[in-house]
């Protein structure tokens, strides 16, 4: 079991590194899909079956396809991206490494949790999570639908092609005030 965890962990870390370092955005997307699938494997290892299914459907099925779709649509599948300056790249790697070292040093003495509940392996089943979701968190669940509605409206408004609107001071025929002045 521990070996399975290490294999999945190595897979997710290596694919995450490929996401950051790949020149072609398509390769980054494929590596991120591999990373997400290995994280779904971690969820299954933790017996969080509901989250594993939702993760595969939402992330790998919807979000990554959306990324691929945008890359294809905008014709970005070329490795012509200019790199940042060397100092910036060194600073990025150093900063990320220092962040990890700081966080890891914070737990160097180990983490002892005092579980308030008895050990229950069925905590991640659809039955348990669904029961909590629809009793204790019913209002946030409904409010999140409003969030999605506002996201849909915002996306439609952002991605809409701007039509030239008539100037508020013009006569409605699309003439600017300067042109109106000239015509008079």
């Amino acid at each position: 079991m521990l070996a399975l965890f290490y294999i999945l962990a190595a897979l997710s870390v290596v694919s995450a590194l490929i996401v950051v370092s790949a020149r072609n955005p398509i390769n980054s997307v494929i590596a991120l899909v591999v990373c997400f699938l290995s994280i779904a494997g971690h969820y299954i290892l933790l017996n969080a079956q509901f989250l594993a299914m939702v993760h595969v459907i939402v992330y790998t099925g919807a979000i990554m396809v959306l990324f691929l779709f945008v890359i294809m649509l905008l014709n970005l599948n070329t490795a012509t991206e200019p790199m940042k300056s060397l100092g910036m790249r060194v600073a990025a790697v150093t900063g990320g490494g220092l962040l990890f070292v700081t966080l890891a040093a914070a737990i160097r003495h180990g983490v002892t949790i005092s579980a308030t509940n008895d050990f229950d392996p069925g905590v991640g089943l659809v039955k348990t999570v669904g029961h909590v979701l629809f009793t204790e968190f019913l209002l946030p669940f409904e409010v999140s639908s409003v969030l999605f509605l506002s996201a849909i409206v915002g996306v439609v408004m952002l991605a809409k092609k701007e039509t030239p609107s008539p100037h508020p001071l013009s006569d409605g025929e699309g003439l600017t005030p300067a042109e109106l002045e000239r015509r008079r």
């Binding site: 079991m1 521990l2 399975l4 965890f5 997710s12 996401v19 950051v20 955005p25 997307v29 991120l32 990373c35 997400f36 971690h42 290892l45 933790l46 969080a48 989250l51 939702v54 992330y59 979000i63 990324f67 945008v70 649509l73 905008l74 970005l76 991206e81 200019p82 790199m83 940042k84 990025a92 790697v93 900063g95 990320g96 490494g97 962040l99 990890f100 966080l103 890891a104 737990i107 180990g110 983490v111 579980a115 308030t116 509940n117 050990f119 905590v123 991640g124 999570v129 029961h131 968190f137 946030p140 999140s144 969030l147 999605f148 996201a151 849909i152 915002g154 996306v155 952002l158 991605a159």
Partner: protein, 110 residues
């Protein structure tokens, strides 16, 4: 198989999950600074979201508390909404300045 999964929660120490999440989060944070392509920066954001989700799920399994998994579900909802808005901003940026380079956005004038 059921027994094997139950023992997996017992066998793998919590520190391993914490370290893995920290590592994934650091890679994502470094990637946001490292790259200039906006779509890769968005993907690094997704990576950081997922490391936090993994940490919450590990704590949930070790505490035997299903509430944290509901939080993970909400984080996934918000991430899905966030990525749609982010990608539409990307499409608009490509249309307006004909580039997805974040350095093009250093003069956000109204």
């Amino acid at each position: 198989m059921e027994e094997g999964i139950i023992t997996a929660i017992r066998i793998v120490p919590l520190e391993h999950y914490i370290l893995l999440s920290f590592l994934l989060f650091s890679i994502g944070a470094a990637g946001v600074v490292f790259r200039r392509n906006t779509i890769i920066i968005l993907m690094c954001l997704e990576l950081m979201f997922n490391s936090v989700n993994l940490l919450l799920t590990a704590f949930s399994a070790h505490h035997s508390d299903p509430r944290a998994q509901v939080f993970v579900f909400f984080i996934m909802l918000v991430a899905a909404a966030e990525v749609t808005v982010g990608l539409s901003i990307l499409v608009m940026m490509k249309r307006n300045v004909d580039s997805v380079d974040v350095n093009q956005l250093n003069r956000l004038k109204g």
